[in-house]
């Protein structure tokens, strides 16, 4: 079932190449000034409302990238936290960014510093507000739970990858009456965020949120490219299912579309004179 090399079925290389092209072309378009359209995610209105409320109460705001290890999701979580930090910097609302991953903790320090600079308030930036609690899942959860209760947080933003400890954050935030917005690609935690938070940004919407917020040509172009890839997957599914209904599930064309060893099987059958 698994590929050790692209040669197991060159179809994989073709699909990756096509998606890469779709993404890179659209990034280029965006960088050259084309206005790429991304629809506004309902979750964003919820974020702005939460920011408004936290400034009235004047109590701190927590931003939790959770135990997200440094990579794709952590970077975009920091993009969203930078947006939030820029908004609350205008009202000097205190903030805490609590991370459970060493690399994310380090990069977050620079991201938050950039955010305060961009908001024109470098004086507000205090490195101790960006903290690394522990990379132990539950030591981290207890650290966050303790802080949310001790500082009676006004708003709690949770973006990134989450695991079992997510409900402790959401429930503790619930206990102190904080308005909570969550966004994660970890689908095991989305149901609980849906249940205990004011709004939940689900899966790919997380990527769309950071693209929409930052208007970054790279993110916008990439999202448009991803939409094209999803269209490609949908068309392959439809076409393939119809082909399977006609030609049978073990036809060479079906093997070609994704099965290791499918490439040789397909071309062997074609070269041996027209199909099975």
């Amino acid at each position: 079932m698994s590929y050790q090399h692209a040669q197991d079925n060159w179809f994989s290389a073709i699909i990756i190449g096509f998606i890469a092209l779709a993404v890179l072309m659209n990034i280029l378009r965006a960088q050259l000034g084309a206005q790429l359209y991304i629809r506004r995610i309902p979750g964003l209105d919820a974020i702005d409302e939460a920011i408004g409320r936290s400034t009235e109460l004047g109590r701190p705001v927590t931003m939790i990238p959770g135990l997200t290890s440094f990579g794709v999701v952590a970077v975009q979580a920091l993009t969203i936290f930078k947006y939030i930090t820029k908004q609350i910097a205008r009202f000097a609302t205190p903030m805490r960014l609590l991370s459970g991953d060493p690399t994310v903790f380090a990069v977050a320090q620079e991201a938050i510093a950039d955010a305060y600079n961009e908001a024109g308030r470098p004086d507000l930036y205090d490195p101790d507000n960006v903290r690394f609690l522990s990379d132990r899942q539950f030591a981290f959860a207890s650290g966050v739970a303790g802080l949310i209760q001790r500082e009676r947080v006004a708003a709690n933003f949770m973006f990134g990858e989450f695991f079992a400890e997510s409900l402790i954050f959401a429930e503790t935030g619930n206990m102190v009456g904080a308005i909570q917005i969550a966004g994660t690609v970890s689908f095991t935690q989305v149901p609980f965020f849906v249940a205990a938070c004011d709004y939940t940004i689900i899966g790919d919407e997380f990527y769309a949120t950071s693209a929409y917020l930052s208007r970054e040509p790279v993110l916008l172009g990439s999202l448009v490219g991803q939409d094209i890839a999803k269209l490609l997957f949908a068309l392959t599914t439809l076409g393939g299912v119809i082909a399977a209904s006609i030609a049978g599930t073990d036809a060479p064309i079906i093997k070609l579309l994704g099965q290791p060893g499918g490439w040789e099987a397909f071309w062997k059958s074609v070269l041996q004179g027209g199909g099975q």
Binding site: Y3, T103, R136, G143, A164, P191, T237, G240
Partner: protein
């Protein structure tokens, strides 16, 4: 009386400490200290919380130091003599410059190595993890025909359902156009089907959490209070 004798961590007649029982009492003390958070955030909880964070961080040095540094660095160089590995740890040490203002960027070189490697590895993951799922979706014929002799009508219905759910949820996760008319309705249908998936996750997750709590209470009953719980 013999229950009490077995329960307490120390013996009465020849006054001596029963270390096995004492260990169980320590574990129970830790469990109850953490549960005190349920009542209220309190100094006892915070004491055990910080002890916990310290123990967890301290423990990781064993496996990290010995299982990795000894096995992949100290032994190959000092014992087997492959001196070329000597450059890896100093290069990895660049990471620790992240805390300095002036030299912070040096750590980015090693972070770049880690990011680049995980990005380069993703192509294999994309092929092995997602394409077989795409391919197995194709093997769901939508009508009974001689091309697929062993198809039953029950399977056809299931396949139709499978394809409709898959495509509608996929439509929900598209963002580069305004969703209007039929597409908007398909996307809403997709979000409803998404809720079935989320409901399944919710149900299973509740089961997981209950099991962990039951495990703790089993420990309190069985190991501490020595009340034998049936093997089921």
């Amino acid at each position: 009386m013999d229950w009490l004798q077995e329960f307490l961590p120390f013996n009465l007649n020849p006054p001596s400490l029963n270390l096995d029982r004492l260990s169980v009492w320590i574990g129970v003390l830790c469990t109850l200290a953490i549960y005190s958070l349920l009542y209220r955030e309190n100094p006892i909880y915070r004491f055990f919380e910080h002890m916990y964070i310290g123990l967890a961080a301290g423990y990781s040095l064993g496996p990290l130091g010995v299982d990795i540094l000894y096995r992949y660095w100290i032994e190959p160089i000092w014992i087997q003599g492959y001196w070329a590995w000597a450059f890896v740890v100093p290069y990895g040490m660049y990471l620790y410059f992240i805390f300095s203002e002036r030299y912070g960027w040096i750590s980015r070189i090693v972070i770049g190595t880690l990011i680049g490697a995980s990005a380069g590895l993703f192509f294999q993951e994309f092929s092995s993890r997602y394409l077989p799922q795409l391919n197995s979706t194709l093997q769901k014929p939508l009508w009974v025909s001689d091309a697929n002799p062993d198809m039953t009508y029950g399977m056809v219905i299931n396949n139709f359902l499978f394809i409709i759910i898959l495509l509608s949820v996929l439509t929900y996760f598209t963002f580069s156009y305004e969703q209007r008319g039929v597409v908007k309705r398909v996307a809403i249908l997709g979000r409803w089907f998404l809720m079935i998936g989320l409901g399944a996750i919710f149900g299973n997750t509740v089961m997981a959490r209950m099991a962990l709590m039951i495990g703790r209470i089993y420990y309190l009953l069985n190991d501490w209070l020595l009340i034998r719980v049936g093997g089921g």
